[in-house]
């Protein structure tokens, strides 16, 4: 069923009785060409591009809970391509280009809104680091503009420019950065994959991975065994447990990242803004809530909830940067589970088991990566070769020292 404004009007006139399910609810088959473990954003986009780009449609996505129930539905919805290390630059650049065509691609309004992202800096040293980043972005073919203090003021007059603790020196402006409606991304890919024949199977937990003679044969699930020629593990947040079923120990530690939303407010923040002296980033959703977040809680956890010290730190950062939001009231806080890797960059790679593939380690960067991650993972699963823009996301790079450490904080997982 094709969605359009006309269809909305027609259905509205007839009591909205004609809307059909966004996806089927199939029973799992005994065998698939590809089984994708994980019905989150990345798993769904991988399924979609396997079908769309590679014509592989005998695919099942196995989801333990409900589609899009992981981090794709619990993030701060920021979409950007502002990385500076080779390996990351081209990947996120590719992803942003896919975002820019996503509504048309999926016939689903994911509300990708290029409101512009401004990363603030507060010292000469930070400015130099952002200049390096901005130059990388332009060299990659993306957009970046260096703003001085007055330039920032023109865009964001409500910041506290008088505060002297960490004065605002300027900002790196990324006009194509922005936000999207997070759930819609999962639903749009799910609907697109389903309509191309992919089986989306919810409430189906994988309990084992069948491996014979170094080759994957299928999976055991809460709904019975399923044979598969290829299996893709795409379960950021639970990567360690799933990989352990294949006897693997991953360079991943799981951490909580909290996020917050306020009550609805009339438009007051147009951009996506990040503070440079303490992790804090904020935007306003179309519903009017301020959506913001900060750093990890910093301790390993699968709890999807956090504690007060980081909550308070984030709020304090908000107050020092833009005290005009003081009277906005936080409505809800939640936590996502991040696969933190020793260099802060992801993994899209084969595993030592033939036919078993791994997409994990998204750290903070998972949401904006959803389109390109699916694109590249589908390419890897279909062809057995890494896609050109994801070729540095190897599993062995920590052992060999070919690192992609944007933060420069080293091998301690939670510092990225």
């Amino acid at each position: 069923m094709r969605y359009s404004g006309l269809r909305v009007i027609r259905e509205g006139l007839f009591g909205n009785k004609g809307w059909r399910p966004a996806w089927r609810e199939p029973e799992p088959k005994a065998e698939y060409d590809v089984v994708i473990i994980g019905g989150g954003g990345h798993g769904l986009s991988t399924a979609y591009y396997l079908a769309k780009n590679h014509g592989i449609t005998n695919v099942a996505v196995l989801e333990k809970g409900y589609l899009g129930g992981g981090n794709v539905g619990r993030n701060t919805t920021i979409v950007r391509a502002n990385y500076f290390l080779q390996g990351n630059s081209e990947f996120y650049s590719h992803s942003l280009k896919l975002w820019e065509g996503l509504e048309a691609e999926l016939n689903y309004n994911v509300m990708h809104s290029q409101r512009g992202l401004i990363n603030l800096f507060h010292s000469d040293g930070q400015r130099d680091a952002f200049v390096r980043r901005g130059n990388s972005m332009v060299n990659q073919g993306d957009d970046a503009i260096l703003l001085d203090r007055e330039g920032v003021r023109e865009h964001l007059p409500y910041l506290d420019f008088e505060q002297t603790r960490f004065p605002i020196y300027g900002g790196l402006y990324h006009p194509r950065g922005g936000t999207a409606r997070h759930d819609a991304v999962a639903w749009g890919y799910a609907r697109g994959a389903d309509s191309r024949g992919v089986d989306l199977i919810q409430n189906c937990e994988v309990t084992g991975i069948d491996i014979e003679h170094g080759r994957v044969r299928g999976v055991q699930t809460s709904r019975g065994p399923i044979r598969a020629k290829k299996v893709a593990m795409i379960v950021a947040g639970r990567s360690g447990q799933v990989a352990a079923m294949a006897g693997m120990r991953l360079p991943v530690e799981s951490h909580i990242l909290q996020a917050f939303v306020t009550e609805g407010l009339k438009p007051c923040i147009d951009h996506v803004i990040s503070f440079g002296m303490g992790h804090f980033y904020i935007s306003q959703s179309d519903k009017g809530g301020l959506v913001f977040g900060g750093d990890l809680d910093f301790y390993a956890s699968y709890a999807q909830r956090g504690n007060l010290p980081m909550v308070e730190h984030v709020m304090e950062a908000g107050m020092t940067l833009m005290p005009m939001i003081g009277r906005a009231k936080v409505l809800r806080s939640w936590g996502g589970i991040m696969d933190m890797t020793p260099d802060g960059s992801p993994i899209i790679d084969k595993t030592p088991v033939e036919g078993l593939f791994l997409d994990c380690g998204w750290n903070y960067g998972g949401f904006k990566a959803v389109p390109a991650s699916g694109w590249c993972m589908a390419h890897l699963v279909a062809t057995g070769e890494s896609h050109a823009v994801a070729r540095r996301f190897t599993l062995d790079r920590f052992a060999t020292g070919h690192l992609l450490d944007e933060e420069g904080t080293g091998s301690q997982h939670n510092l990225h």
Partner: protein, 90 residues
């Protein structure tokens, strides 16, 4: 979150710095194979359940601690001084 430092008593989480799993206590000896270093620095069991991890009472007594803790419920089972664990283990 509150952690009972063996020296200072029960304190708020905000006094502590988190490092990572207690794998960091088992530093490979000189000349160990690269795989041992990869395992030491990068690879983690990352259990969804009881883990042992390292915390530093940075705003308190400066002791490094091994905390036995659930990553699901955050329940803390025990807290020991790293120095005791390490000296005892040698």
């Amino acid at each position: 979150m509150r952690i009972t430092c063996p020296l200072c008593g029960e304190r708020d989480r905000r006094e502590f710095y988190y490092y990572g799993a207690d794998d960091y206590l088992r530093r490979p000896g000189e000349g160990a194979a690269p795989e041992a270093w990869d395992s030491y620095l990068h690879l983690r069991d990352n259990p969804a359940g009881i883990t042992r991890d390292l915390w530093h009472h940075e705003m308190g007594c400066s002791a490094w601690l091994v905390v036995e803790r659930s990553t699901i419920t955050h329940e803390i089972r025990s807290v020991k001084l790293v120095s005791d664990v390490q000296e005892g283990g040698k």
